[in-house]
């Protein structure tokens, strides 16, 4: 690695809370690490293992799933299901040692622009420390 490794992170944000939170981070001119690419979905419950795993196995170095805080879901219950699906995925990657720290679930509300920045920057930092996703750089896969 000649120059500092810059990770490629995919972030699935729910339309109502987290995406709005990201907007607020922007409109209040908060610096946010550019390694994360935002993909907007209506609800975190739309994001299942298919989306997270594909992203991971097609080369992203980290995947963030963000939604409304528990109890705040615009669709009442979506994020509770999202959390269960994520918990399963997290466990699988743990057991198989597929670097579980590369996937993250966070709750970010529409008023938490600052929190959005903090979470993304921290995540990007952690991933940079981890280095590139071995799963994808590994010719065996």
């Amino acid at each position: 690695m000649e120059k500092k490794f810059k990770p490629n992170i995919v972030g699935f944000l729910c339309n109502w809370c987290s995406y709005a939170g990201a907007d607020l981070a922007g409109s209040s001119k908060t610096d946010v690490d550019s390694s994360l690419s935002v993909i907007r979905v209506m609800c975190s419950s739309r994001v299942n293992s298919n989306l997270v795993l594909s992203s991971l196995l097609w080369g992203s170095d980290g995947v963030l799933v963000a939604g409304c805080h528990p109890g705040d879901c615009h669709y009442e219950q979506g994020n509770y299901y999202a959390r269960r699906r994520f918990a399963l995925l997290k466990k699988i990657t743990e057991v198989l040692k597929l670097e579980p720290e590369r996937i993250q679930l966070s709750w970010i509300s529409a008023s938490e622009g600052k929190r959005y920045a903090e979470i993304v920057n921290k995540f990007a930092e952690d991933i940079s420390k981890l280095g590139p996703n071995p799963i994808t750089s590994n010719p065996k896969v």
Binding site: N48, S49, N50, L53, S54, L57, W58, G59, P70, G71, Q77, Y80, Y81, R83, R84, R85, F86, A87, L88, L89, K90, K91, I92, T93, E94, V95, L96, K97, L98, E99, Q104, L105, S106, W107, I119, F123, P134, I135, T136, S137, N138, P139, K140, V141
Partner: protein, 395 residues
Amino acid sequence: MNNNQKETKSNPKKGKTLPAEKSIKDAVLNIFKKALADNIVDAVLIPAKVPDTDAYSWILLQDESLFDIADPLPPVMNVQGGRALSSFSKNGELDLKIAALMRPCEVRAAVELLKLHQVDLDNVTLVSIDCPGAMPLRDYMNDPKKINDSFKKISEQWEISESLRPACQNCHRFSLMDGTGSDLHIGLLGENKKVTLISNSSTGRDVMDKLGFEPKDSLDKWKATKEKLVKEKSKKRESFLKEWQEKIKKTDGFFNELNKCINCHNCMNACPICYCQQCYFDSQTINFKPETYLQKSKEKGALRFPLNTLLFHVGRMSHMVLSCVACGACEDACPVSVPVGRLFSMVGDQTQKEFDYIPGLNREDALPLQDFKKDEFCEVETPNECEEKVTEEAK
């Protein structure tokens, strides 16, 4: 169903012991012959040896005379019983009373498929049987005679033999216990030259009454022997899990195991829980324009084909592993001997613990991903918000 559930948890006190002078097989078959003769059931779903071949298969038997090809405990698990049951009962109600004789893992699969609306059990009496395990399909096909003999020996002595399928060597749910949602169970352990019929649900009790089998014989001996064997096999399972955790302690540990995979998806086709019409990972949704792949191979230096092997396995895992009954059908079906069954049941073990769920145990338990609590899994949230408690109590 409600009392059914209670009973699967409680352990039955007494059973009905039946003589087996001629052979265990005979004694077992007699139960079903009687059930059919007395019109307690209209048909029996049971493994059978295809005449004039070495092949085994399932038959839905209505003609008594065919019982002689039936075999309650074949040396191999050619098709997972749950799958067999689903294949004819999934579309619409079954108005035929059926007794299905299956291995405990097959019964558990059937119960999971019930929750997934892939079987109809309303008219089905699930009968499980103490299972000595089964032999690897490939070994059997190579030398049926030899394998038959060694299986005979193994099943008589209940030996945890290296020549059994790995899934069976490590199986601690081979008999009636928490983890078997059957209505009736046939105990072979303990007494020799005897089989014991045990009711495990109101449906089961009902059938026993109709058969005129009053459960008054003690189960102590059966239980004692069973428990002993369970301990032994549980220990075996423990060490198997440890061993595999060792094997997969580095990131590439897992795909080293998968390297041989030729993406034939036999594992998925053999799996009783994989019930989809078409597997998501066979669908067009994950096929893209050539340039995408050229791009990728450029980035990585080389791109491996067939594509998405790892995605398929981990993805399939994320779809079914919470219902995995560790039957080993997948591994049996793998042409290149990927230890896929062991991998899946290892993951199954730990994920199911996470959700405090035992597949096939309780027909009333909701499937983990169809349910939620408001206040749970805070440990998977970042930042970890375990302190933040929702005031409403869990749903």
